[in-house]
Each structure stands twice: as structure tokens, then as C-alpha cells.
């Protein structure tokens, strides 16, 4: 429908459907300048991690649009507060707001277009160490830095840290056999933490 509508205006079909999900998705992610995750709600959504993994060797900039109502969006928001992740991430605060989604696509396209324009720019800039650098090199360093932010995010949050965190919690869990006693109501708990009785 959209292709039929815009084919004449644009001179090409703006949507390509690749078919069912399979191993080829890695290649699709590798060539994609931007990824869109606008879930209303999602446990974690690992697509962004797979995208980072596929884009990490690309010299071109990447821009991810991510809903904060997915687990990964929630974590990105926390990291954005700490490190600043904009760009390469545009967070959707309300993925059900059509205008916000349109605006996010527009912003991503604008960032990416601006960055692309530097690739063919022959102008040069003086650098702090007296040497000169080209606009194209600036682009590469900016993209590399932005990709470093994403890679850092991915490195912090992987299967090993998840496994270790959960097993630490489970192995340090209280063993009921160690203190096997009846406790009167309301319950009195050891430790300095504040308690709330229900």
C-alpha cells in the first residue's frame, strides 16, 4: 500500500519486505543506518544488542530509535542520564504517540544525512596538536565515539553479567534449614534495614 502510494512521488518503493525472520537478519542489521524499536511494552528486546554487534565495524554512523517501555529502552534511559547517549540513541517516551514516532524518524534521518554530508567534504580543520584533519575524519571519529558508547552499553549488559547476578542472588539466598523456627506475627527481621509490616 505505502509502496504503491509513494512509488510515483519518490521514483522507487520506500519499503522492502525481506520475508520471515532468519539468519539473514544479521546482514540486514549490518547495512541498516538506523534501527526502530517502538514496542508499547517489552521485557528486554535484544534486537538493539544484535544491531550493535553487526554495526560495530561500520565506519558510518548508526542511530537507534528505542521505546523506553522496552527493557532495553529503560536501561538506555538510565545510561543516557549517566553518559549521554543522544546521539546515537533517540528515546521514544511515548511509543503510542504517532507524532513522536514521526519526529524520531525525522531526527534520525537528519542526523544521518548531516553525518553523510561530511563524508565527501574536502575541507579540513586544524586539530589541537597542530596537524589538520578532514571533515571525513571527524565523522569517523564521531561515529567511532558513538559506537563506543553503544558497545560500552552492550558490554555492561550481557549474558555473563546476567548469569553472575542471578546466581549470586540465588546462592546467597537465605537457607531456611539454618534457622528452622516458628516466628510469631508480625515478623521481626534481622539486619539494620528499615522494615515495613503488612
Amino acid at each position: 500500500m505505502i509502496n504503491a502510494k509513494f512509488n510515483e512521488k519518490l521514483g522507487y518503493s520506500p519499503i522492502i519486505l525481506t520475508g520471515q525472520l532468519g539468519a539473514e537478519k544479521n546482514r540486514y542489521m549490518m547495512v541498516a543506518d538506523s534501527l526502530i524499536i517502538n514496542a508499547k511494552k517489552d521485557g528486554m528486546n535484544l534486537t538493539l544488542f544484535e544491531y550493535i554487534n553487526q554495526r560495530k565495524f561500520s565506519p558510518l554512523p548508526s542511530e537507534a530509535i528505542v521505546s523506553v517501555h522496552s527493557g532495553v529502552g529503560d536501561r538506555l534511559r538510565a545510561d543516557a542520564d549517566r553518559y549521554g547517549l543522544n546521539p546515537p540513541v533517540i528515546l521514544l517516551n511515548d511509543p503510542q504517540d504517532l507524532n513522536e514516532c514521526i519526529h524520531a524518524i525525522r531526527r534520525a534521518a537528519k542526523h544521518l544525512t548531516k553525518a553523510r554530508s561530511k563524508i565527501n567534504d574536502d575541507r579540513v580543520l586544524p586539530s589541537s596538536d597542530q596537524s589538520i584533519i578532514s571533515y571525513a575524519d571527524v565523522l569517523k571519529s564521531e561515529s567511532a565515539f558513538n559506537m563506543e558508547k553503544l558497545k560500552h552499553f552492550m558490554k555492561q549488559q550481557n549474558v555473563d553479567t546476567w548469569l553472575l547476578g542471578n546466581l549470586s542472588m540465588l546462592t546467597s539466598a537465605y537457607s531456611s534449614e539454618k534457622i528452622n523456627c516458628a516466628i510469631s506475627t508480625p515478623l521481626s527481621l534481622p539486619g539494620p534495614s528499615q522494615q515495613i509490616f503488612l
Partner: protein, 458 residues
């Protein structure tokens, strides 16, 4: 010309640790959590390096059993997991555990056999495949579920009721209306299948050894209670006392009222029963309270679960089952602990923490970018899609579109489309359409979409 070497660096772990420790100092009680914003409770995330023990010390001399609904698609020939991040994460976890245990095969994976109708127990699987020095074996147990029972357990209850209920949002009435409530009889079958998972986990326990049983995700949420009951009723209860039960919730945990509303049974819709939503929410809360440790991806989900326990109605029914309980927050360990006397009047504690999952870092098997240029990858994609969509197919790609796709200046946007209400596909397509209507971008843009199978179609 050279690229500047002095790129700004991200904060290292020490800076991060001190920032987090400061945050923790400020927040030492659950009452404070309540009054904080969502962003502020991010300190509950405990994946910080500063106080983490080694995996070896955690798994040494322990019998570790991971239980999930889905497992390996084939345990004889290949190690490819069924689609999904969970199965992949379990394989990677078992590999790490097995490696840390020096390959002494004390780690097991229990799952449904994925329609293979091939119950197999204790098959040693090497990962990565082969028996080289980098390959470490773990045991795989898969069991069959009778077809009708499986259909009710998986399609009717999990996919049509539980999954949408766990993704529900009180503000989204359209979503709520899309849920197909399952009947009381269907729910009983869901519990019955959960009993099978618990029974297989029970069979894998090592008497006299420290057992760690770790259940994965909502399909088997009722299994922890069933396993606890099996242990308590066992003749060798004393030999199994060193068994700890964990559960990780891979989905979101919704607002309590939304969950109660969305779990309502079909019998109640027809006026044949009352209070089924509350009863089911209480059952879910009760089974998870039998665990020793509960994991969620993000603090917000953990907090929503605790809110359910605190809910007056739910709380009232839990007291009938478990006596009084209390909740405390320990800022030094970023842990919420729920403590209560169980039905046997024994003290029990459940630890709750947020541990977000990711993917295994540096998985070289899928790093295409190392060996393939973007231009080559684009040509390969066009070649594959041309073969896939034969001439005349409405999804076929015309020559102009091929040229635009291959042009290095074209911007490619990518999304994975799964027609499930929580994925918000319709709005994304509307946004693309409106964007194309209202914008004239300098560079040409192509939106590439991949279709993923829906829960209902599996």
C-alpha cells in the same frame, strides 16, 4: 591527516561504582523507593562489577538445573536453539557454568521437546559442538507433552491470556480488549503442565548435594510452588534441604490492577464464576513467593511485583496461605527481601533483584562486518530477495528500488515486525507513511522490514 587520538572516554567502572554507591547511600528503604521517580530506582540494577564473586566460586560442587519451556531444537545433530533470546541465553549460561565446573557435567537443562515427541533424559551435549578443549558438556533433558495438553498450555493459556496480561497497560483499553481469556479448565491444564516441569526438575535433584534450580519465564511460573511441594512431601526431604529455587521473569511485570483485570477467566465473562482474575494473580504471587530468588530485567518490574504482594486484596489471600509477611529493602545489596512464615510455620525469605539480560559479547560467529563490506552485503541482500520474490510477486523489488538500495548515500532504516499488540507495528507503519508524506529528505530513504512469527502462530 590523522584521526584525533584523544576521543573522550566513558567513565570507568570505579567512577561508576562510586556514583552508584552514593546513590545507594541516599536510598536505604522501600518507603524511599515509593517516593522516587522511575529513573531514581535504577540503583536496584545490580550488575556492578565491584562486589561480584567469580562464577567458579558460585557453581563449584553444586548441581545446577535450568528449566525453560523451550530448549534445543535438536539434541542429536546440531546445537541450534529454537528462535528466541531465552534459549540462546540458556545455552551460553550452561556453557559458562560447565566451563567453570571444569566440565564435570553438573549442569542440566530441562525443557519441552519442541514437538519432536522424543523424551530424552541426561543426554550429554557438548558446546561448542565437538569434544575439543573449548567444548564443555552439560546434560539435556527433554520431555514430550501430549498434543491437546500442549495446545491448551502453550497457545490458549500462555499466548492468548498470560503473555498479553503480563504486557498489559491500564491506559490501553484497546490492548486489554484484545486478550482472549482462558477458562478455569484451561488454567488447570496450565498448572498440570507446570507440574511436569517441576517433576522433571525434582528427578534431577542430587540428594545430599547443594541443588540450584533456576526456572525461566512465565510459561512455567507455577512450577516453583509445585517443586517446593514435591520436596516437602518427599521421603528424602532431609537430603534435599540444600535445594534453592530461583525464577527469572523475562517479560514485563504489569501494574497490579491491570494484571488482575486481564487474568479474568472465560467462566467469569460468562457469569459462571467470580473473582477469577484476583485468584489467578494470587496464585502467581504465591508460586513466586516459594522461590528463594526472583529476578527481573528492570527495577520497575520488580517494584510492580512487590506492589502486587502489597495490594490489600492480594495480601489478604496470601495471608491465608502463608501467614503474615514483611518486606524490606537492603540498599547495600540492592535487594528487596520478602520474608514470611510458610504454611509449616517455617521462616522463608525471597530475594528480589533486577538483572537485565543482553547477548553474549564478542560472539564472532555472527560478526559479519569483519569479513564483508557494506556494499557486498547490500548486493547479497538484493540477490537473495530477487530470488525470494519472483518476478510478478507484489513484494518484488523493481530496478529503481534496487539502484536506490545499493546507492551508498541512501539511508536504510530497519525494523523487525511481529504482529503482536505490544510490538506496536501498526503505529510504526503509520509513522513511516506520515513521515514520507510530510518530509522530503535530502538523502533517499528505504525502510527494510523483516517479519517475525507471532506467539499465536507458533
Amino acid at each position: 591527516m590523522k584521526i584525533p587520538e584523544s576521543l573522550p572516554y566513558l567513565p570507568d567502572h570505579q567512577h561508576e561504582s562510586s556514583a552508584i554507591k552514593k546513590t545507594l547511600k541516599r536510598s536505604n528503604s522501600l518507603s524511599k523507593i515509593e517516593s522516587q521517580t522511575e529513573t531514581d530506582i535504577s540503583f536496584l540494577n545490580t550488575t556492578h562489577a565491584f562486589d561480584r564473586p567469580s562464577l567458579k566460586s558460585l557453581v563449584e560442587n553444586k548441581n545446577i538445573i535450568i528449566v525453560s519451556n523451550r530448549g534445543l531444537s535438536s539434541i542429536n545433530n546440531t546445537l541450534s536453539a529454537l528462535p528466541g533470546g531465552l534459549a540462546t541465553a540458556v545455552i551460553d549460561s550452561l556453557y559458562s557454568i560447565s566451563k567453570a565446573q571444569d566440565g564435570n557435567q553438573s549442569a542440566s537443562w530441562i525443557s519441552w521437546d519442541g514437538k519432536n515427541n522424543q523424551t530424552q533424559t541426561g543426554v550429554a551435549v557438548h558446546y561448542p559442538p565437538g569434544e575439543g578443549t573449548n567444548s564443555h558438556p552439560f546434560n539435556v533433558h527433554q520431555f514430550s507433552i501430549e498434543k491437546d495438553l500442549l495446545d491448551t498450555f502453550y497457545r490458549v493459556v500462555n499466548n492468548q491470556t498470560l503473555f498479553p496480561a503480563l504486557h498489559s497497560d491500564p491506559a490501553d483499553s484497546e490492548y486489554t480488549r484484545s486478550i482472549i481469556p482462558c477458562s478455569n479448565a484451561d488454567w488447570d491444564k496450565y498448572e498440570e503442565v507446570n507440574g511436569l516441569f517441576a517433576q522433571y526438575a525434582f528427578n534431577c535433584l542430587s540428594p545430599g548435594k547443594e541443588n540450584l534450580v533456576w526456572f525461566q519465564d512465565s510459561q512455567i511460573m507455577m512450577a516453583p510452588k509445585k517443586l517446593r511441594t514435591l520436596i516437602e512431601n518427599s521421603d528424602i526431604q532431609d537430603l534435599l534441604k540444600d535445594t534453592k529455587i530461583g525464577y527469572f521473569h523475562h517479560m514485563t511485570w504489569p501494574d497490579k490492577q491491570s494484571l488482575i483485570n486481564c487474568l479474568i477467566s472465560r467462566d467469569e465473562v460468562w457469569g459462571k464464576d467470580l473473582g477469577t482474575g484476583l485468584r489467578r494473580a494470587v496464585a502467581l504471587a504465591n508460586t513466586l513467593l516459594q522461590c528463594d530468588a526472583l529476578g527481573f530485567h528492570i527495577p520497575k518490574d520488580a517494584k510492580n511485583f512487590v506492589s502486587l504482594i502489597e495490594d490489600e486484596q492480594v495480601n489478604h489471600h496470601l495471608k491465608d496461605l502463608n501467614d503474615a509477611f514483611s518486606i524490606r529493602f537492603d540498599g547495600s545489596n540492592n535487594t528487596i527481601t520478602i520474608a514470611y512464615n510458610n504454611v509449616h510455620k517455617n521462616y522463608h525469605e525471597v530475594k528480589i533483584e533486577a538483572h537485565p539480560i543482553g547477548i553474549t559479547a564478542n560472539n564472532d560467529n555472527i560478526d559479519l562486518g569483519k569479513t564483508e563490506s557494506t556494499a557486498d552485503a547490500k548486493h547479497e541482500i538484493i540477490s537473495q530477495l530477487t530470488t525470494r520474490w519472483k518476478e510478478g510477486n507484489e513484494l518484488g523489488i523493481n530496478d529503481q528500488t534496487k539502484d536506490v538500495f545499493l546507492d551508498p548515500n541512501t539511508l536504510i532504516f530497519y525494523s523487525i515486525e511481529r504482529h503482536e499488540p505490544n510490538k506496536n507495528t501498526n503505529l510504526r507503519i503509520d509513522a513511516i507513511e506520515k513521515y514520507l508524506e510530510t518530509s522530503m529528505p535530502k538523502n533517499k530513504i528505504i525502510f527494510m522490514m523483516t517479519l517475525a512469527p507471532t506467539k499465536k502462530s507458533r
